[in-house]
């Protein structure tokens, strides 16, 4: 405990036992730390873009291309599996803490095939509350005070607060657009290998990558992942690979798991999500896959934070995985059919944005598309100077145009804000009618 706190505590205690001296003493103290003071670990972590924007966008009159969840229905068989599970007595009670047995077995099968190696269901898998919960268990289990963690910008916004809550320092490196050219694809954004190399230090504990990336939609190539892997091995760091959108990769691109590169299995935690896999974000189930010597520390965190995930939901996801495992490689496997459906929506949204005079960054994977709104020439000077342009733009657009998006500077650090503040993020895993409604709003932009 810091010296100051010890003194303050001692003073508080003496104060309580001698009121008169306390009053005199207290009067001369400008501020007494509140007894109900929060723990230091949450300092500076209160802001959250979702808390700020989701309630506003929940208004049904707003066309919501903001938060990343589908408004298309999930496959009926997963819903049926859930209803069925709830009707079985045992499925309404606690299951195995680190993952419901039928679920970890199904995951072991699916990923055994994908990885081309045996994945031990009990020792190399942890089921968590969404991909989010996996990220948290990973950070809490493996990242310590004083560590540094490299994060690629733009990043899913929770990485930085989670690293900070673990007492570590986020070290940011931006994806940069190919110089000169107007970027038309997420593939035009890349990491400078020299710049990346310079970010590694003796304190680096891990690097976090997200492929396909949220919000840009970049799908890292094997070559790009090899550069990262080489640095992890050279500097003996861990790799946390957020692959929640792993199945949502569009034609001409391939999802590569960094854990399959030589030397990487032993130092990588790979994160997946039932919510993104089966279009059921409200089920909040995800998983971490990795070597036993890493997963066991995530399991320790799990048993001391929430202990176990809901049983019937896990059973239903297991059924969904088993069904699709049999169909893997075939066109009616949901893992590929969803990507196909999504690609059509991606192209539709891109066309809508292009018709409105903008140049979207066409994503190679994932749910989202970035677009530079400069061509709309929207004057926001009346909104003051205290926020980045994209925050102001999105707030204005929600209010005036009834169209919701997410500001991209929410996904970058201070130094990169200027580079990204003209971009907004649009989610396209939406009904065609939702996308068309967005199209109408953009078409009629100039009309009052």
């Amino acid at each position: 405990m810091s010296c100051t706190r010890r003194i303050l505590n001692a003073v508080r205690f003496t104060c309580r036992s001698s009121p008169t001296s306390c009053r005199r003493f207290c009067a001369s103290q400008p501020v007494m730390a509140s007894r109900h003071a929060h723990a230091r670990r949450i300092e500076g972590l209160d802001k959250n873009v979702w808390v700020a924007f989701t309630s506003v966008a929940a208004d049904p009159s707003i066309v919501n291309l903001g938060q990343g969840f589908p408004d298309i229905p999930p496959p009926s068989y997963v819903k049926e599996a859930l209803a069925k599970a709830v009707s079985v007595d045992r499925m309404n009670q606690y299951t195995r803490g680190f993952g419901h047995p039928s679920l970890v077995k199904a995951l072991s099968q699916v990923y055994g095939k994908v990885y081309g190696r045996q994945v031990d269901p009990l020792k190399e898998i942890l089921v968590t509350v969404g991909g989010y919960g996996s990220l948290f268990s990973t950070m809490q289990g493996l990242v310590d005070e004083g560590d540094e963690v490299i994060i690629v910008e733009p990043f899913f916004d929770c990485y930085v607060p989670m690293v900070r809550m673990a007492g570590a320092k986020p070290v940011l490196i931006p994806l940069r657009p190919k110089s000169g050219k107007k970027t038309v694809s997420s593939g035009d954004w890349f990491l400078d290998p020299d710049e990346l190399s310079a970010k590694f230090s003796s304190k680096t504990k891990a690097i976090i990558i997200n492929t396909p990336n949220n919000p840009i939609g970049k799908v890292f190539t094997r070559g790009e992942l090899q550069v990262i892997a080489d640095l992890c091995i050279k500097h003996d760091t861990l790799c946390f690979s957020d692959e929640v959108y792993e199945w949502l990769v569009f034609k001409g691109h391939q999802h590569v798991k960094i854990a399959t590169l030589p030397g990487m299995w032993d130092r990588t935690i790979t994160i997946g999500s039932a919510g993104k896999t089966f279009s059921v974000t409200g089920w909040k189930l995800g998983w971490s896959i990795g070597p036993e010597h890493l997963i066991k520390h995530l399991q320790t965190v799990m048993q001391n934070t929430l202990y176990t995930c809901p049983t019937p939901l896990q059973e239903a996801v297991a059924q969904g995985l088993l069904l699709n495992y049999k169909l893997m490689g075939q066109p009616d496997c949901y893992f590929s059919s969803l990507a196909e459906e999504l690609e059509g929506k991606r192209d539709r949204l891109a066309a809508i944005l292009q018709e409105a005079g903008m140049t979207p960054v066409i994503p190679e994977g994932g749910y989202f598309m970035l677009v530079d709104v400069t061509p709309l020439n929207q004057d926001l000077s009346h909104m003051g100077d205290d926020e980045a342009y994209d925050y102001k733009f999105v707030k204005w657009m929600i209010k005036e145009k009834k169209l919701a998006a997410i500001p991209v500077t929410a996904f970058v650090g201070e130094e990169s804000k200027e580079q990204f503040e003209k971009y907004i993020r649009l989610c396209f895993i939406k009904e065609d009618s939702t996308l068309e409604a967005a199209g109408n709003i953009l078409k009629n932009w100039r009309k009052v």
Partner: protein, 444 residues
């Protein structure tokens, strides 16, 4: 503990030689220091053992009967509800649920509870406790834990950088102790444990494993100390509806001066006999909830939507039926009252001395009168009750939980002659247990 932490940076992990080259993964330690000393877990160990030996399981606390039809129906209805039932809901709690909880508990606490400020929905009461410790306990803070305690409190204090200070409930001196009401807290002993570093006190009523239901004067004594020393109170009330023999559950948060310093934790799992749904909540003044929200939004962020929707319908039904015979909150304790009697008589009939619980899911039993040859090398260095429970699983096929698991290292030796039974089981399970105990006592 301190020595391990100091040496930790020098520990290395070498991947076992699997016929390939030795590889050093990280010269620095892999795991974060906050995970040191919190890796062992009594449930992981004993549920595995019960499963391995296919024991009649009166160990872990979950019902082996189904939740009531009305909540199962509500869940099914939610599943076939609109697409939004399967997508993210409000992070701090599904609007319908926080409104139901606020309405329901405002009436009980006698305090207007704001659904959006004063309520946080979590993944089980377990996660509510986690958020409370992480949000409000800092390095060097002391937390008083009343023993016997639900085992997770101690590692959660540790993980938050705090120091656990223990105060035991003790059986009143004198004759045989027959009820959980005979176990009391000494006001002097409690007061003596408070130091300038004490931040909070954790209580659990009805208590797991003892079943004690704190009386208003006992809670007032604790409240007085909290107010005098400006402490927080974490009140784990997951078994709040399960009281027997007219014992009344009282919320410490409803005592004067306590609302703004108490976090009350509740559980849909225990309320509706659906432990596998993992829906819980924390209710408190918005000033404390806001800190917990920050932990929540940086750890799990949301809880499952459909489960929250179902629990909300459950509470709305109970709000209307409250105090009437149709209320599940009347029917469940009445049903468990019977089961509690059944298990207690069965234990007495074989010469054991159960401590009759005033509330909750569990009954502890004094096993000091039982003499068995615990001839098991593998458990040689463990405490008596741990050895006894393992023997009972392996030799008799009956699973229970050793009570010293719920005591601190400094006091566990005083309480190593008790084992815990869960009586929230189908009659067939209880009868199977009865059969095992009867056969065993006949052999002696």
């Amino acid at each position: 503990m301190g020595i391990i932490r100091i040496l930790a940076p020098y520990l290395t992990l070498i991947r076992p030689n699997l016929g390939q080259n030795h590889k050093l993964i990280m010269a620095r330690r892999l795991y974060a220091s906050r995970t040191i000393g919190v890796d062992k877990n009594v449930w992981v160990e004993f549920t595995q053992l019960a499963a391995d030996y296919k024991a009649v399981n009166l160990g872990q606390g979950f019902p082996d009967f189904s939740p009531p039809q009305f909540v199962q129906d509500a869940f099914c209805k939610a599943v076939s509800g609109g697409p939004q039932m399967h997508q993210y809901t409000r992070a701090f709690g599904h609007p319908r649920l926080v409104k139901s909880l606020a309405k329901f508990f405002s009436r009980i606490v006698g305090q207007e509870i704001d659904p959006f400020e004063d309520v946080l929905v979590t993944v089980g009461a377990y996660q509510a406790l986690f958020c409370a410790f992480q949000a409000l306990i800092d390095d060097g803070d002391e937390v008083i834990i009343v023993e016997p305690f639900f085992d997770c409190y101690q590692p959660m204090v540790l993980m938050a950088g705090g120091t656990a200070v223990y105060v035991p409930l003790r059986p009143k001196g004198g004759s045989t102790v027959l009820s959980s009401g005979d176990w009391v807290l000494s006001a002097e002993e409690l007061a003596s444990k408070i130091t300038p570093r004490t931040k909070a006190i954790v209580i659990n009523t009805p208590n797991n494993p003892l079943g004690k239901v704190y009386k208003v004067e006992e809670l007032q004594m604790i409240a007085d100390l909290c107010i005098k020393h400006d402490l927080l109170c974490f009140s784990d009330e997951v078994y709040e509806w399960l009281t027997y023999d007219g014992a009344k559950h009282i919320k410490i948060a409803s005592l004067p001066g306590m609302w703004e310093r108490t976090i009350t934790v509740g559980s849909a799992g225990k309320t509706f006999s659906a432990t596998g749904w993992k829906v819980g909540w924390a209710i408190s003044s918005g000033k404390l909830i806001k800190h917990m929200k920050i932990i929540h939004q940086n750890s799990v962020y949301h809880c499952a939507t459909a489960a929250q929707e179902a629990v909300s319908h459950g509470f709305d039904r109970e709000y209307e039926l409250f105090g009437t015979p149709e209320s599940y909150f009347q029917q469940l304790p009445a049903m468990l009252h019977q089961k509690r009697q059944k298990v207690a008589s069965c234990l007495r009939s074989v010469g054991l001395q159960p401590v009759m619980p005033e509330g909750g899911y569990f009954m502890i039993t004094d096993i000091s009168s039982v003499h068995v040859d615990l001839n098991d090398e593998s458990t040689k260095n463990e405490s008596y009750d741990f050895r006894f429970v393992k023997w009972l699983i392996k030799e008799k096929g009956l699973a229970t939980i050793p009570v010293s698991a719920f005591f601190s290292p400094e006091h566990s030796k005083e309480f190593d002659k008790y084992i815990r039974f869960c009586f929230v089981k189908e009659d067939s399970t209880l009868e199977a247990a009865e059969e095992i105990l009867r056969k065993w006592s006949q052999k002696e």
